[in-house]
């Protein structure tokens, strides 16, 4: 039995976190993510969780580091400039192998940019804006329902793999209101024997993302890499739309662009054009095997990458496809959202199919 509600993306993400057993949230106001902070301020303490409005983005992520080290389910949220501030601590959390969920509702950049939707944080979130060799699991929801579902799942995933999970949305997703089902599920709680809770009846625990002995630090890194290979094998998630033998052009797009691409496909079909979509749902691990499959086995298929950026995910698509001649790009920067009409016009103009 589940509830139906008309909610903003930001609110849905917060509600999902609460229902998944969130213990601790610390955040800072930033457009277009502020509703997440405010939703928690109203609803989280009533559910027994801790809410803190931190005095800075950096303070917020460091509080999450502490809470996660204590074994709690912890979250922070922000938008692009705030994510830049959090990077040092994210690097610490990654080596410390602590689970937590971080929400980035992307906006136009660089700099203070604007407050409209963008996808120009791909590099900093997926490739690691912090220092060192680390990865984060990155989810890219494209609807409010998906934002709710993925946020709900993110805690068990984070706990199981001891890794931060990012919910990478954009201002459109954060602000749009849709009717969604708040599905009743129980979140899987797991034991955390490594957590800091006072060394009662056990050896003391250490959360120390640091070792001055290079061979020891190498070992820690090798362990991380082994974990990342295992995640790549089992946690890839994507959606395919209309990909078959007739498909001439495959759009690769995520989040809001993935949703816009579905409209492009519908409109194109009316014009007799065979266009499909691979929509990565995990940006890391990236569905490179899937893209590579279509590129290698069907050499006549072309790819069009659509992003609200100067082209960031396209680099991963290029790696997967292995042939730049097959790949085109359509992007909008600065917080501008492309329309399905202009994308279709571009496809026709370039005679991509």
């Amino acid at each position: 039995m589940s509830e139906k509600k008309f909610m903003k993306g930001n609110e849905a993400i917060a509600e999902a976190a609460i229902r998944a057993g969130l213990n601790f949230y610390a955040g800072y106001p930033i457009t277009p993510a502020t509703e997440i902070l405010e939703y928690f301020a109203v609803h989280l303490p009533a559910k027994g969780g801790v809410f803190i409005q931190a005095a800075s983005e950096i303070e917020a992520i460091n509080m999450v580091y502490g809470a996660a080290a204590g074994g709690a389910r912890a979250m922070t949220s922000s938008s692009s400039p705030g994510m830049s501030l959090k990077m040092e601590c994210i690097s610490y959390i990654a080596l410390a192998e602590l689970p937590c969920v971080i929400v980035d509702i992307m906006r136009g950049g660089p700099g203070l940019g604007d407050i409209q939707p963008a996808q120009s944080d791909y590099f900093q979130i997926v490739k690691g804006g912090g220092h060192g060799d680390y990865r984060l699991i990155v989810f890219a929801p494209s609807t409010v329902q998906e934002a709710y579902d993925l946020t709900f799942e993110s805690y068990s995933l984070a706990d199981r793999w001891r890794i931060p999970v990012v919910i990478l949305g954009d201002g459109a997703l954060g602000q749009v209101k849709e009717g969604i089902e708040l599905r009743e599920k129980s979140s899987v709680l797991i034991e955390k024997p490594w957590a800091l809770s006072g060394a009662k009846g056990r050896k003391s625990n250490r959360i120390v993302p640091f070792n001055l002995e290079p061979l020891e630090l190498e070992k820690m890194n090798l362990a991380l890499q082994e974990k990342y290979r295992a995640i790549e094998k089992s946690e890839v998630c994507f959606e395919e739309v209309n990909i078959n033998f007739e498909t001439e052009l495959i759009i690769v797009a995520y989040g809001t662009c993935g949703r816009i691409a579905k409209s492009v496909i519908k409109m194109a079909a009316e014009n007799g054009l065979h266009i499909g979509l691979i929509r990565p749902i995990t940006l890391w691990p990236f569905p490179c095997d899937e893209i590579r499959y279509w590129a290698c086995n069907f050499p006549n298929k072309k790819f069009l990458v659509v992003e609200m950026s100067a082209g960031q995910m396209i680099e991963d698509v290029r790696l997967a496809v292995g042939d730049d001649k097959k790949i085109s790009f359509y992007g909008k920067m600065g917080g501008v959202v492309p329309t399905p009409e202009e994308i279709l016009e571009e496809i026709e103009r370039r005679v991509l199919c």
Binding site: S56, I58, A67, G70, A199
Partner: protein, 242 residues
């Protein structure tokens, strides 16, 4: 027949040799905190949050739950831990760069929120770990590796700064240059941990400390310089826990 009664020994909570230089007051402070924790039977309740600096290697010789925080952020990390484990005793251990430099934001806001944690602030007026650069608490005229002709500008007085906030419960500056001062410092540590155990709010102990290596002095000479520091940093209780 005579027997021997041990009246002072190394706390068992300390599990190895200190990583600090000869004569460094980090060692003295670590020892005092360990003695107090052991005497109050708090080993199983403690979570230590360590800053970046010479103290960052403390995890190697402390047998309590422990975490290393990013530079300047120990008090935010401690806040997260305390809010999810309010019954545990949480302290931060930070040097002058960590707390009064990069961590000044966290220092002000954590104490202003009155978080029920304890901060041990080690002030030796220099950046030790990185080889002796100027700190926010460096005395005027001091020659450091980045102030070769003498440091300019006044040192920041953390106790005085925090005293302007109404929230902190206990603020005390101590030193360690003589047995009497060391005994006073130990009592301050005990008082701070009691304040936390009794939910009094934020407690802050500033230890005037030495850095023989980067001050380019012998340990005994460095004790005289710490006495000089008290001209700028008076030793006193700025606020008593109520």
């Amino acid at each position: 027949m005579l027997k021997e009664e041990k009246i002072l020994s190394r706390p068992e909570i300390l599990t190895g040799k200190f990583s600090f230089c000869a004569g460094c007051h980090h060692g003295t402070i670590n020892k005092l905190i360990a003695e107090v924790i052991e005497s109050l039977n708090l080993r199983e309740e403690i979570i230590a949050v360590i800053g970046v600096g010479c103290c960052a290697t403390m995890y190697g010789f402390w047998g309590v739950d422990i975490i290393n925080a990013p530079h300047g952020r120990a008090q935010a990390v401690a806040t997260g831990l305390k809010r999810v484990h309010p019954d545990k005793i949480i302290f931060t251990y930070q040097g002058d760069g960590d707390l009064a430099g990069i961590g000044m934001h966290e220092a002000i806001h954590t104490s202003n929120r009155g978080e029920n944690i304890t901060t041990f602030f080690v002030n030796n007026g220099i950046y030790g770990m990185t080889g002796g650069q100027r700190a926010p608490t460096t005395l005027p005229g001091a020659k450091t590796s980045t102030t070769l002709s003498g440091s300019e500008g006044a040192p920041i007085k953390m106790c005085e700064l925090l005293e302007t906030l109404s929230a902190p419960a206990y603020i005390h500056r101590v030193a360690l240059f003589s047995p009497a001062e060391i005994i006073r410092a130990r009592k301050a540590i005990e008082k701070a941990l009691y304040a936390q155990m009794n939910n009094k709010g934020f407690s802050f102990i500033e230890f005037l400390s030495n850095c023989p290596t980067n001050w380019k002095m012998t340990p005994l000479e460095s004790l005289e310089y710490v006495k000089k520091m008290t001209e700028y940093f008076p030793l006193k209780v700025f606020r008593e826990p109520q």
